[in-house]
Subunit: 263 residues, 3 copies
């Protein structure tokens, strides 16, 4: 695999040298690897933000693309590092739940290994930068064709991200904001298909004491209008046309969003 | 074209997964494409900012480089998506004028097609993310050698960016700020060649009630000095040496800048 | 060297077109160059920030990787532009000291040339964008195999970054903050090996009237705790667990940090 792709997703920012360090380590071992930045702008230690980012983006990549993820508040503790095969992708990731939303109902279960074989690591291993000392060199070895079975034993248990569930009422669904995007759009966990026949004119969306107008796309309403619509991930989204809904509503991850309808 | 370059220019930011999604879609269809980020930091929906960015950067690229641009306040509306050949570059871009400053006097006219052939798109097409569902797959197909004539019909009309003109007085030129760069430098639409003999000691620049000192380069004046000079794009630029002119002057895109001289 | 790597490190930001312009210029001359962004987020004109970034990241790259660095407050002045071989890396960089922390005791001395041969430059050369007009085309020529000896004469003198020294007391070491990373962690110039036997329980760290608790890794203390530890660069680091030490302490580059111990 001389030109295999390795993507990088971190909370390192770009003003710090840490992402560049990982690129250097990977290329030092695997000079032909095709490195690709997905982001270094996950908010610091924000596992829920990373979870949405990864679950949204990774399934679009070619089969067996290798993704290195470093959002790792537990670095240096006993938390494990994992090699995961899920949704036809390959991940190297701390065991903190940031990847488990890729493990979806009805798909084949993930295959997970704990990284324990330190012969594939940089030595000495620091206490605070396992991205450099463990994940980067392991990624390089995998890009050169290393059998993942050599990385460590299979795991049957791992940390799962805990999200509040959608509550189903007789004439309502209550979910919450799971992601706020760069535009300030509020992405919820209310899936389009769960709205069923409700998705239409007799449906009311409620969030932060407001009732956004239901539209099909942003351009259906004038600039500044608070709207609700089906997001590109097929969930309910609340937005301000050419504006910032998170700022307008003071909403954050976890803010409740309710959909009500008339039978 | 197994290693053709595809550049990405968006207002998606890097904290959101949208740019990563487009990379996945492109590589899923065209695994050997060489993806290159130009920026994901165009301010949200800021077509004028994108216009300056594109007009400044794209002409330096190798002939026939393919550029995908997603700054798209009209997504989901009836606005067209275009394939454009201009300045020897190839663009996939919403029809909102963000590219038309590349269409310069004296150059061969652009060749433009409207994207209508949905066999090259992802299905179903969302209402809010045409970058993922239309532009990315079309870019992948083009990188694999698809004839652009198959994308849709030629267009003779398209949206053009409207900028206020330069006003010519007997002893003055009045233009305006067209871009504020990362350093807070004010880039104007007053071109060096239009200053003619005026460019020199007897010329006065006026902006926001200040008269910046005319210099040849930043290092000609001490830190903190307000200066005017010829920018790297050969237009009048107003800067603060090792400081931020936009902040100091409270200037923005559209702020008038006048050059006066003595006959 | 058809697929040689060229990295880019600048203070251009990503909202401005300057980094994209350099990519275009390099690819225009050397279409197969593998461009890699290290960062465009060095704070404007911040040579000390760039110095730490480069000294930390560049040594990890494969031998002879070519690094183009544009943090250049002196652009257009008489400051030289340099080609440098140091730590097995190749650099194109303004002569402002931002690279000299790579020149470490006990390593072979750097080999330095001044860029004077303008046949390898873009013409005309602007006064304000030597990254585009000199460094980018020279990088492209080097990636195609140009002998560095043709770029200009050897230099024996260059600007060195001036940092305050570590002060050694009988029972103390006093250094200072040399870098603040994206997480707000304070990285000092107090090296682990200089602490000697002191590195342990009887050692006290003092910074901004606080005494951070000494730990082995962030996860050793609860969220919000002010801690000191050995950084991944083996220097003393001050951090707030899952928080921002720079903000909490009001610290900046140059803030003194003292380590005291009991004999």
């Amino acid at each position: 695999m001389p030109d295999s792709i390795i993507t990088l997703t971190t909370d390192f920012g770009e003003d710090s040298p840490y992402a560049a360090v990982m690129k250097g380590v990977i290329l030092g071992l695997s000079p032909h690897a095709r490195l690709m930045d997905l982001t270094h702008q996950i908010p610091p230690q924000d596992i829920r933000h990373a979870a949405y980012f990864l679950a949204t983006a990774l399934p679009y990549f070619p089969r067996e693309t290798l993704h290195v993820i470093v959002v790792d508040p537990g670095v240096g503790s006993e938390r494990a590092l994992l090699y995961v095969e899920v949704m036809d992708q390959r991940l190297l990731v701390p065991d903190n739940g940031c990847w488990t939303e890729l493990d979806r109902a009805g798909r084949s279960p993930p295959r997970v290994r704990r990284l324990t074989e330190d012969r594939y690591w940089r030595q000495p291993v620091s206490k605070t930068f396992h991205g450099r000392d463990i994940l980067a060199p392991v990624a390089a070895h995998l890009s050169l064709g290393l059998d993942p079975a050599l990385l460590g034993p299979s795991a049957e248990e791992w940390v799962r991200l805990d999200r509040p569930p959608v509550l189903t009422g007789r004439n309502s669904l209550t979910g919450h904001v799971v992601f706020i995007d760069h535009f300030g759009n509020l992405i919820t966990n209310l899936r389009q298909e769960s709205l069923g026949a409700a998705a239409g004119a007799d449906m009311v969306v409620r969030v932060a004491r407001e009732s956004p107008r239901w539209v099909h796309t942003y351009a259906d309403a004038g600039p500044g209008t608070l709207v609700a619509l089906v997001s590109s991930s097929r969930t309910v989204e609340v937005a301000v046309v050419q504006g910032n809904a998170a700022r307008l509503l003071g909403a954050g991850i976890g803010t409740p969003v309710r959909v009500e309808w008339i039978d």
